[in-house]
Structures are given as C-alpha cells and as structure tokens.
C-alpha cells in the first residue's frame, strides 16, 4: 500500500532555498520568479518508491546548469564538462529529493539521480502536486514534485 502524503509548497521552497544557500552561496539566493519562464536546457530527477511514490525534478537552463556546476566545483564555467554538469545536477536533485522524502516521513527508497539534456517528463500516471518557478542569476529554475493521483490504482 502506497501512502498518500501532502507535500506543502512552502516546505519544498524552504528546503530548495536551503540547498541553494548551502552549496551555491548565500550571496545569490534562489528567488521566486515574478514571471515564470521555461528553463529548457537540463533536467535532473529522482524517484521515491516503496511506502510513498513521487518524482522530484529540477529544470535549469544551459547557463544556469553550468553556473550551478561551477559554483559547486568552485571552478570557472569554461572548465565545466558535461560529465561535471551531470554529476552536480544529480547531487542537487538528490538533496532536494532526499529532503522531500524526509518531509514525507515515510518508509520509502530514493533512486539514484537521472540527469539529461532536455525534459525528463515524469511518468504520465503522476500528477504535479508542487511546482516552484524560481530565478537564479537571472535564469529560470523549476522544481516540481509529482505523485500519483489520490486513490489511483498502483
């Protein structure tokens, strides 16, 4: 039996801000977007399964993804490789997903991260229950949590 758990927008926003501040610096916080944009570029996802089912996804522009990676590695953006970028975005979504899983207080397992150039659209049987449209260094960032519809046959 998979539990149905309400995940609050404010809780997810708080943990995303904490991840950003801790690993990317407090000088340039991630902020709510006034006019949500479409990040495109890269996306990274982790799935939660077992006692609770969900997918957490982070979308970033190409420039945003390179800036995140450069800050995490403390290197120049010009030195960032695609392997570095996949590694860094995977860690970013791993932290978001791990903390979302902890919010759910459920016995479940976190997958290893999946990172791709393009849109890692969640499985069609999942509904978006949280969407954060954010901005960082002027680039759009989106964080979403998808879960099965309430009462869905899983």
């Amino acid at each position: 039996m998979t539990a149905t758990i309400d995940i609050g927008l404010a809780d997810v926003q708080m943990l995303v801000e904490e991840v950003w501040t801790s690993f990317l610096g407090a000088d340039e916080p991630v902020l709510p977007a006034i006019e949500p944009g479409t990040p495109g570029g890269w996306s990274a996802a982790v799935t939660i399964s077992g006692g609770w089912e969900a997918q957490c996804t982070v979308w970033l522009t190409e420039g945003g993804a390179r800036a995140v990676t450069a800050r995490m590695l403390m290197c120049d953006e010009a030195d960032v490789t695609d392997d570095d970028l996949r590694d860094a975005l995977g860690e970013l979504v791993n932290m978001v997903g791990g903390n979302v899983k902890s919010l759910a207080a459920s016995t479940a397992s976190l997958s290893l991260p999946l990172v791709g150039h393009g849109d890692l659209t969640p499985a069609s049987h999942l509904d978006e229950v949280v969407r954060l449209d954010l901005t960082w260094l002027g680039d759009p960032v989106r964080v979403s949590v998808h879960t099965p519809p309430e009462g869905a046959d899983r």
Binding site: G98, A105, T107
Partner: protein, 123 residues
C-alpha cells in the same frame, strides 16, 4: 589522521573535502572511494581513522558497506553524509554501528560537531 571519503559523486567528494577544511579538519590525510565496494578495499589498504560515507550509491550502498565492515570485524569509526536525515534512517544508521549522520545540505559547524565527537576536539 586519515579520513576515507566515500561518494559516487566527484562533485560531492570535493564539497565534503572543502567542508572538512572549512570546519578546521583540513590537516587530515584524505583517501577517496566511489562506492561501498571500493571503500571496503580502501579500508583494508589504508586503515583510515574515520569513514565518511554517502548512503545511496551504485555497486554497494553506504549501509551495506557498514554492515560488511562490521561483519568482517572492522571497528573503524563510521559516519554518514547523506541527503536523507529522517529519524528512521538515523535509527538504522545507529543500529548498524554508525557514529553519526550528517544530512545534506550541511554546514562546516555540523562537520566539526560530528567529527569532534569521534576524533576528539581540535586543540
């Protein structure tokens, strides 16, 4: 002292090593491993004073690494650095013999507090 840092992410290993420096533990020798299986071999080869390990890794997870070490008689102090800090995981870590669990995102202060409890307070 010698620390073994275990994480499948090179980025996170660098962040952990940087945070060790920021927390005043930059003088320790650091050995790195990419997964639990590699870390098990590194414990045999390098006899670290502390293992700092991620939980969720390919090949062999952190909790399986800890179980393997304890099952084979290794008492090396062991701490998790992981993205999941739920009470259930902390209890599982403690039951398996871990000295602490640092949840990501972390601070240098969290590192100093956790490492101090195992390695002793810095002078």
């Amino acid at each position: 002292m010698k620390l073994l840092v275990v994480d499948d992410s090179r980025v996170m290993r660098q962040i952990v090593i940087r945070t060790l420096r920021q927390s005043g533990h930059g003088d320790h020798e650091v050995v790195e491993a990419e997964n639990g299986r590699e870390a098990f071999e590194a414990v045999l080869a390098h006899s670290p004073d502390l293992v700092l390990s991620d939980w969720n890794m390919p090949e062999m997870s952190g909790i399986d690494l800890l179980d393997a070490l304890r099952s084979s008689g290794h008492a090396v102090p062991f701490g998790f650095v992981t993205s999941e800090g739920s009470p259930e995981m902390r209890a599982q870590a403690e039951a398996a013999g871990a000295s602490f669990l640092i949840a990501k995102p972390f601070t240098p202060e969290a590192f100093d507090e956790a490492l101090g409890s195992v390695l002793g307070a810095r002078p």
